[in-house]
């Protein structure tokens, strides 16, 4: 039997949907027993949310004042202490998971499988390399802990309606003091859906040409109930904030609908959207590579076309 420990991602009160997607990945492993671990200052709310996920067999909480901020240096030794007795340690392949799990793997002395996108067997997974242009099947030895991050875009979130038992664990680990949390400058919260999990996304590129113009993207997204994304060029130029970058080195997403506005379609960008069910591209250059992946392409000036679309949507 595979005993899988998933490190929950949360902000202190809310469980991140990426964790529910990692649960779905874990459930695809034959005869899996799935435990979600919540490290927090006060884990109650997050633990309750994790226990309510279908497919979760148990939730363990590790309450510690040091767990108020998600620092890899303090979390990793606690995860390692908890990991004995488990065959697998998973986390979502988000900024949090990418920061934490390699530190856990190295402390355990095992390699890590990054961005698991398909389960081949209990110790074999597929993952993307070369900006998604080569899919590699990896096999890990069954006599060591398997550490992996799970590519959110490849798995649906586990459904609500579970009722797993919650228990508190105490772990004995030396917590380093060499790393200190100073602050988080969070991007202003909005009613807009979250980019990583949204069903619809409208993204803008360099063609928007200014931060003010980028409001065209926000406006269309608002009309459609979509999240907002951006190309690297738009983020570098300061039109959009960093966590909105979509692509190989930003967020990999799989919405039902992706609308690329004034984005050329560089391979690094396309990696981030290949799993979108429907891709719409609006670009004035008919030769732009984005049209190679678009289900619906519109060759037009975005400054004319986007307001027209908004009008047509009523």
């Amino acid at each position: 039997m595979s005993k899988i420990l998933i490190v929950a991602e949360h902000d202190g009160t809310t469980l991140n949907q990426a964790t529910a997607r990692a649960v779905t990945c874990a459930r695809q492993i034959p005869a899996a027993h799935v435990t979600v671990a919540v490290f927090a200052a006060d884990p109650a709310a997050v633990a309750a949310a994790a226990a309510a996920l279908v497919g979760v067999d148990a939730v363990v909480t590790v309450a510690h004042a040091a767990n108020a901020s998600p620092l890899a240096a303090t979390l990793a030794p606690q995860v390692v202490a908890l990991a004995s007795g488990y065959t697998h340690v998973f986390a979502a392949s988000t900024a949090f998971g990418k920061d934490l799990l390699p530190r856990v793997a190295a402390l355990l002395g095992v390699p890590q499988i990054s961005d698991a996108m398909a389960v081949v067997g209990a110790y074999s997974f597929k993952r993307p390399t070369y900006a998604g242009n080569a899919i590699v099947t990896l096999e890990a030895p069954a006599d060591r802990t398997l550490v992996a991050t799970v590519r959110s875009a490849s798995f649906e979130p586990a459904a609500q309606g579970g009722s797993a038992p919650i228990s508190a664990a105490t772990v004995t680990a030396d917590l380093p003091t060499h790393t200190r949390f100073v602050g988080l400058s969070a991007s202003p919260k909005s009613d807009r859906p979250d980019l990583a999990s949204a069903a619809k996304v409208v993204s803008g590129g360099r063609a928007l040409a200014s931060k003010e113009n980028f409001n065209i993207v926000y406006s269309l997204a608002g009309k459609m109930g979509a999240a907002v994304g951006a190309s690297r060029a738009a983020v570098d130029a300061g039109y959009a904030s960093n966590e909105l970058q979509v692509g190989q080195t930003g967020k990999i997403i799989a919405p039902d609908l992706y609308v690329a506005v004034g984005i050329s379609g560089a391979i690094q960008h396309l990696t981030g959207i290949k799993d979108a069910k429907t891709i719409v591209a609006i670009n004035k250059d008919p030769e732009a590579p984005i049209f190679e992946v678009a289900d619906f392409g519109l060759v037009a000036d975005l400054f004319v076309a986007v307001p027209e679309i908004e009008k047509a949507l009523g």
Binding site: D11, A95, D99, P111, Q248, F296
Partner: protein, 249 residues
């Protein structure tokens, strides 16, 4: 601070679209343009700026790779690194092995800071910086978009999913460079000439006493599933119609 170590990985250039070999054994790399991993150029640029501010004395570029990785190290020297070390391997190494090597060198060199890329754009593993930090028992600050050195500590701003996180770490530490940390300088011709005279040590992997096997096996490599061919619509009305039919708007 005396010394900054920077990782310089030789990777397929970011403009190349790689092809998977039909037999599923790997990707075709013969004759493909190779470059310094773009994140490593950013890491090196940051190290050079720290040195130029008078906050570090020496910048050492390290690559683990084949003999040809000397080309990428020469590029690093031309950018301004003081010297370079090539740890020679014949086969690609897993990030855990690369991390063991970099940790060995950080210890041997008594480095005060190690700056790596956030990820290498070939394997996209994004593991090495946290692994080196763990093996070395030092702090990590991954996805750095701003680094401020204050004597024995550093304040680092990190690009995380919720926005920008700031942490403070004791040095020595390991940082990984994100895209917005800086814009790397261009190499000028006279610098390329000068770089030829800078020291580049070649170390055999075997001489480091680092375990090479981590047990992970690549059993198959395949291309991604292609997307079905789409259509070009003639105007906004046709686009909105098509999306309505699919129930997407």
């Amino acid at each position: 601070m005396r010394k900054i170590l920077v990782g310089v990985k030789r990777v397929v250039d970011y403009n190349v679209r790689v092809r998977v070999k039909p037999d599923g054994s790997g990707v075709a790399l013969e004759g493909v343009k190779m470059s310094v991993n773009p994140f490593d150029e950013i890491a090196l640029e940051e190290a050079l700026r720290i040195k130029e501010r008078g906050e570090a004395a020496e910048v050492v570029a390290v690559s683990i790779g084949p003999d040809d990785a000397q080309q990428q190290l020469r590029t690093a020297l031309a950018m301004g690194a003081d010297r370079a070390i090539l740890v020679k391997v014949t086969d690609a190494v897993d990030p855990l092995v690369a991390s063991r090597v970099l940790t060995e060198i950080a210890k041997k060199e008594n480095a005060d800071l190690v700056i790596l890329g956030k990820q290498a754009i070939d394997d996209d593993a994004a593991q090495t910086a946290p692994m080196v930090a763990a093996l070395w028992g030092r702090p990590q600050a991954t996805f750095a978009s701003k680094i401020e050195i204050n004597g024995a500590t550093a304040v680092v701003t990190r690009e995380v999913d919720a926005g920008l996180e700031t942490i403070e770490v004791d040095l020595p530490a390991v940082f990984s460079a994100d895209l917005r940390l800086n814009e790397p300088r261009y190499v000028k011709l006279p610098d390329i000439m000068k770089a030829k005279k800078k020291p580049l040590d070649v170390v055999e992997f075997a001489s480091l006493g680092v375990a090479a096997d981590v047990g992970l096996k690549t059993t198959f490599v395949e291309p991604p599933k292609p997307r079905a061919k789409g259509i070009v619509v003639k105007d906004v009305a046709e686009l909105v119609d098509a999306l309505k039919k699919k129930g997407l708007v």
